[in-house]
């Protein structure tokens, strides 16, 4: 018996990437609320690092999405 049939190929990698995106998103939500809190408290110096880190997190999410999209389209090409 094949433990990993072709229609399941890449699912673990996709799930892993999804879990990573969820973690990054939680960090990004926390970052946004922390930056907003700090801005409302008058600490404007937090806005620049907040925006830079948020951009990095978004870039990581985008890269993971592209990874998922690539596996997904490759696998579905094969099972078509």
């Amino acid at each position: 018996m094949n433990p990993n049939p072709p229609e399941n190929r890449g699912l673990t990698a996709i799930d892993g990437a999804m879990a990573l995106i969820v973690i990054l998103l939680i960090v990004q939500i926390w970052l946004l609320s922390a930056t907003l809190e700090s801005y409302l408290a008058g600490h404007r110096e937090a806005a620049i690092p907040g925006a830079i880190i948020s951009a990095i997190l978004f870039a990581a999410c985008l890269a993971l999405y592209r990874f998922v999209d690539r596996i997904d389209s490759d696998v579905r090409q094969d099972i078509k």
Binding site: Q28, A47, S54, L64
Partner: protein, 170 residues
């Protein structure tokens, strides 16, 4: 949009509505991942908005406002006033023969009006028992996390003039 998704040779409808059950697992995961990525973009937009706001906001020009006559209030007495606008209630306390302090009267927790508790020499917020120091407005107890904004006073003859608000966010 090839930088966002890999270009596909199949029509879009087939990409989004797979014929085989096996394909469904991938589509639902891809769509969920796309949703998460767009949410992440929303968070980035939020951070950029805060950045734009913090750049565009300038230091306000504070008006000079006559608050009270210096001997109008007894030692330990209180007078309320509004500064810098009518929507900003403030509280002035005469703490000694020649010393006065003034703070915003809005609690930094949920904006209830604080009052001066003479017996304990501190400001108290009746809503959730938030207490503030009379010396510098810092939080002594309760849910507020920020100090009361302080109103800077100037003595001009026998008059007390409010000249600016020295808040963390001023």
């Amino acid at each position: 949009m090839s930088w966002f998704c890999k270009p596909s040779s199949v029509p879009l409808w087939r990409d989004e509505f797979p014929v085989f059950t096996a394909g469904e697992r991938y589509v639902s995961r891809r769509q969920f991942t796309k949703f998460l990525t767009l949410t992440s973009f929303g968070m980035l937009v939020g951070n950029l908005w805060i950045l734009a706001q913090s750049w565009s906001r300038r230091a306000p020009a504070w008006p000079r406002l006559r608050v009270a006559e210096a001997d109008e209030i007894a030692v330990g007495g209180v007078k309320t006033f509004s500064y810098p606008t009518a929507a900003d209630p403030c509280i002035l306390v005469r703490t000694g023969a020649d010393s006065y302090v003034a703070y915003s009267q809005k609690c930094t927790h949920l904006s209830c009006a604080v009052y001066y508790e003479k017996a304990r020499n501190r400001f108290e917020c009746p809503c959730h028992q938030g207490f503030f120091s009379i010396a510098d407005g810092s939080v002594l107890q309760g849910p507020p996390r920020r100090a009361l904004p302080r109103v800077a006073l100037e003595r001009a003859g026998g008059q007390l003039i409010a000249i600016r608000v020295e808040a963390e966010n001023a």
